[in-house]
Amino acid sequence: MTVNSIYKEEKKSAFQKVSEVIITMASRPSGFIGLSILVFHIILAFISPYIAPYDFKAINPTLMLQAPSAEYWFGTDDLGRDVFTRTILGGRTALTITFFGSLIALLWGGLLGIFCGLVGGKIDDIVMRIVDAFLSIPWILAMLLIVSLLGTSTEVLIPALGFFYGKGIVRVARAATHDVIAKDFIVSARARGHSNFSIIWNEIIPNVRDAILVEGAMRWSWMLLGFSSLSFLGFGVSPPTPDWGLMISNARGLMSFAYWAVIAPIVGLSSLIIGINLTADAFAKALGIDRSTKAPV
């Protein structure tokens, strides 16, 4: 029997697989831009405390609302604080909280979705009804309620955000599981007598993992926007910690004469969201998942 060279693809290690996906992502212009922006933001979040030129909370009445200059690249705000310093620091909290929030969303959303897809029937119906009911509550109202009851600490924000953004993942995970569950290899595993746990772990998860990860990445950018809205409303990060949402909120009244104080955090926030979005899209394409069919919530 002859061996065709096209089939000469050997088993790869996890590291090889991941790096291959990243290379494929970066080979598209949009993916490359997205990845670069995201990596830039992540690096910035790590090093900004060391490179910030000024103290982010140093108030200086004599330097109020200075226009950008060689000394203060992005100008100063209404309390005379350096906008550049505050901008490069302003993504750290948001990035951290939403990253862990997304992990939680992935975990509970993915597991519940797989569970529903697997058991099907009545239980699936009931659980999905409940999820749908939660979906219909405007999340921001619910968040505000939670935050005003429990405070705005990280321990509250991460699980709360994770919970609300996990609902969409439940649906994706459930749909993906439904597709897989009808396949003969699951029937085959059942007929051999494998346990449910073994079926989920060996047969289902490898086949739904990609779809769930892509959805999680997408949720991350949504969550970032949501978290910044909370900050904007004064329910996210508490002053004086620098945060883009908060900075936009503080400086928006000064827009007409001190545009620099607003523009810098806006650029920071939107570039990060766009970066994550492009990355998630490229991620989906690299894994061969068609995202266009999945409705955003």
Partner: protein, 674 residues
């Protein structure tokens, strides 16, 4: 000149690979379609036949592009035409019936409305005229009572009827050229024969030129005047239908015809080695070189050109066609299968009934199943150790249902399944112990679905070895290599993923996985249906070999009666979940005597222009088995009257051991043959 309707000139179509190489799907194709002619294009999956048919209507699939050449229709090249001009031709002058056309009908629109839409789009008739035309068209495709059909929704029609509607819609624009992509694939044997007969009639009646694309030489043989054989993106043989089927002068076609099982021959045909190369693999030499029985050294580095032989009116792409010219006819050798069955019973199905009916709450609570008219009823089969018993019947006759119950995947309503003369197998998977699960293994129709795409071959075969025997490390490895060798795959396949294997190789892995459990019984559900014809014989031969080595018992389900003929010792014929006839294959095939068996065997399409299907009964599809009497009463052409409608027919035994369930006495049944 004007009698040529479509002219394909030096057409090459391809795509760019990830690495930027140009990969050809069609290589320099030239052919002509004459007015009123029906041409069959055959080839296995990936040979480029659909791409060619689509190009004939000026369509190149997304991701592919035309590298060179043209498709001329009425002297204008369709491939560089503006889409506005193309729209005027498509549907009106050239119509296409895609694969699964029936399923392509819009589900929520009535049939009449959908045909009307096609008429509005492709003709200039007034509303009144259109109305008349609709019933005319439905009449033409021989649908019963067109008025009522027009008011139905697609799901209220059977598969064959849906296909007829698709034909009616294609005829709406009175096209000059009709392209059909696998028009009967996926339909039942009986329906298939009827639809082809209809298409034959329409071709004669309207004078429309037709191009049939199919992998099935049997279907092509029934309809075409001329046949084009494609292999790996090239035309390898083209000529009059009869000559190609009777005296194929290309080694590929020759081998193919040898490897297709025939009804008249019991036993397994010779298999063709290897499989078709992937696009872009072979750069120099003949693309069939690896698999060719007639190859010479020069074939390796020189590509043969398509050569036109005037005296035969045939074109052939082979250096050695003269060798084949000398062979007067395809001599099919079959390896007679040994009947290994012992006297010992291995599995006994007794009074088995299976129901899919949704159970009422009360029944659910008491964990019982109540259904007066279950999907499968009264199945009594006694299976001997080492034999191959086949279940045949149309789609929906309950073949897979019975297999699922044997595997424990579906609870039975009544009856019991007994293993090895003394052990009753629970019909509930959870109540079977691991050994009960091990002794029965399944092989499925489509290896794409039955192998987890994220597991390597090694992981796939390791699963049963770990589960049942707890093997680990070196021993596990040794066993996997051993199994791979048994299914004729090398050790290096271990690290491959299913997507890196060809269809036949995938199915071999599935076979290896089943044998890994050292089962006593293997349930084969349409195991060769998803495979290319040239690979099918190889898998059948492998199954037979393994069975002889291990003494395994097969329960073999297939809709292909010729395949069943080739491999089985005994056959059970099912209609609507009820048994009609059980007996040794030789007898069932030689003296078909149950009226339904006759219908089934009559409808088989053979790749031989001299064997025409005999269409006995109508191809109506019944939704549910009748409540009383004979299950086949609705379609039986020999129905006796009330007795068939009221009483379940008795089992009658023939001298040779055939059991037939019919009210007509055996003598009578055997007498009235063709």
């Amino acid at each position: 000149m004007s009698d040529i309707i479509q002219k394909v000139k030096n057409l090459s179509i391809g795509f760019k690979s990830k690495k930027g190489e140009e990969i050809l799907i069609l290589k320099n194709i030239s052919t002509k379609i004459k007015k009123g002619e029906t041409v069959g294009i055959v080839g296995e999956s990936g040979s480029g036949k659909s791409t060619l048919a689509l190009a004939m209507m000026g369509y190149v699939k997304h991701g592919l592009y035309t590298i060179g050449g043209e498709c001329e229709f009425n002297s204008s090249n369709l491939l560089n035409m503006k889409s506005k001009d193309l729209e005027k031709i498509r549907g009106r002058k050239i119509a296409m019936i895609p694969q699964n056309a029936g399923q392509a009908l819009t589900p929520n629109l009535k049939i009449g409305y959908q045909i009307d839409e096609a008429l509005q789009l492709h003709s200039d008739l007034s509303e009144k005229e259109r109305e008349k035309k609709i019933s005319e068209l439905l009449n033409k495709v021989r649908l019963p009572s067109p008025e009522t059909i027009a008011l139905r929704y697609p799901h209220e029609l059977s598969g064959g009827q849906q296909q007829r509607v698709a034909v009616a819609m294609a005829l709406a624009g009175t096209p000059d050229l009709l392209l059909l992509d696998e028009p009967t694939t996926g339909l039942d044997v009986t329906t298939q024969a009827h639809v082809l007969e209809l298409l034959n009639f329409i071709a004669k009646d309207t004078g429309t030129s037709m191009v049939y694309v199919s992998h099935d030489l049997g279907a092509i043989a029934q309809v075409s005047d001329r046949i084009i054989v494609m292999y790996s993106g090239e035309i390898v043989l083209e000529g009059p239908s009869r000559d190609i089927l009777k005296r194929p002068i290309h080694p590929y076609t020759h081998g193919l015809l040898k490897s297709i099982p025939k009804l008249s021959l019991a036993g397994l045909p010779e298999s063709m080695p290897g499989s078709q190369p992937q696009p872009g693999i072979i750069q120099s030499g003949c693309s069939f070189f690896d698999r060719c029985n007639f190859s010479e050294d020069k074939c390796k580095n020189n590509s043969p050109q398509l050569e036109f032989l005037k005296e035969l009116n045939t074109s052939v792409r082979c250096f050695n066609y003269e060798k084949l010219l000398k062979e007067s006819q395809v001599n099919q050798n079959v390896n007679k299968i040994k009947n290994n069955s012992k006297d010992k019973e291995i599995l006994n199905l007794s009074e088995v009934s299976i129901s899919y009916a949704k159970q009422k709450l009360l029944d659910q609570i008491f964990n019982r199943i109540s259904d007066d008219n279950p999907t499968v009823k009264d199945i009594n089969i006694n299976i001997k150790k080492g034999e191959t018993i086949a279940l045949v019947g149309e789609s929906g006759s309950g073949k897979s249902t019975i297999l699922k119950s044997i595997a424990g995947l579906l609870r039975t309503k009544d009856g019991f399944i007994r293993f090895d003369e003394n052990r009753n197998l629970s019909s509930d998977l959870k109540e079977r112990n691991p050994n009960d699960l091990r002794i029965i293994q399944l092989i499925f129709q489509n290896p794409d679905e039955s192998l987890n795409p994220n597991h390597t071959v090694e992981e796939i075969i390791a699963q049963p070895l770990k589960l049942y025997f707890g093997l680990k490390g070196e021993e596990l490895n040794k066993n996997i290599i051993d199994l791979l060798q048994k299914v004729r795959l090398g050790e290096f396949y271990m690290s491959r993923y299913p997507r890196q294997l060809s269809g036949g190789e995938k199915q071999r892995v599935a076979v290896a996985r089943a044998f890994a459990a050292k089962p006593d019984i293997i349930l084969c559900d349409e195991v060769t249906s998803a495979l290319d014809v040239s690979v099918q014989a190889a898998v059948l031969n492998l199954l037979q070999q393994l069975k002889e080595d291990f003494g395994t018992t097969y329960i073999f389900v297939s809709h292909d009666l010729a395949v069943v003929r080739a491999i089985s010792d005994r056959v059970a014929v099912l209609y609507q979940g009820r048994l009609c006839e059980v007996g040794p294959s030789n007898d069932v095939y030689k003296f078909p005597s149950h009226p339904y068996t006759e219908v089934l065997l009559g409808a088989v399409l053979e790749p031989d222009p001299d064997i025409k299907p005999k269409l006995v009964a109508e191809d109506i599809v019944e939704e549910k088995p009748p409540e009383k009497g004979c299950s086949f009463q609705g379609r039986c052409s020999r129905i006796l009257g009330d007795i068939c409608k009221k009483d379940i027919p008795p089992w009658q035994l023939t001298d040779s051991g055939n059991a037939i369930r019919c009210h007509i006495p055996i003598k009578e049944l055997q007498k009235e043959q063709f």
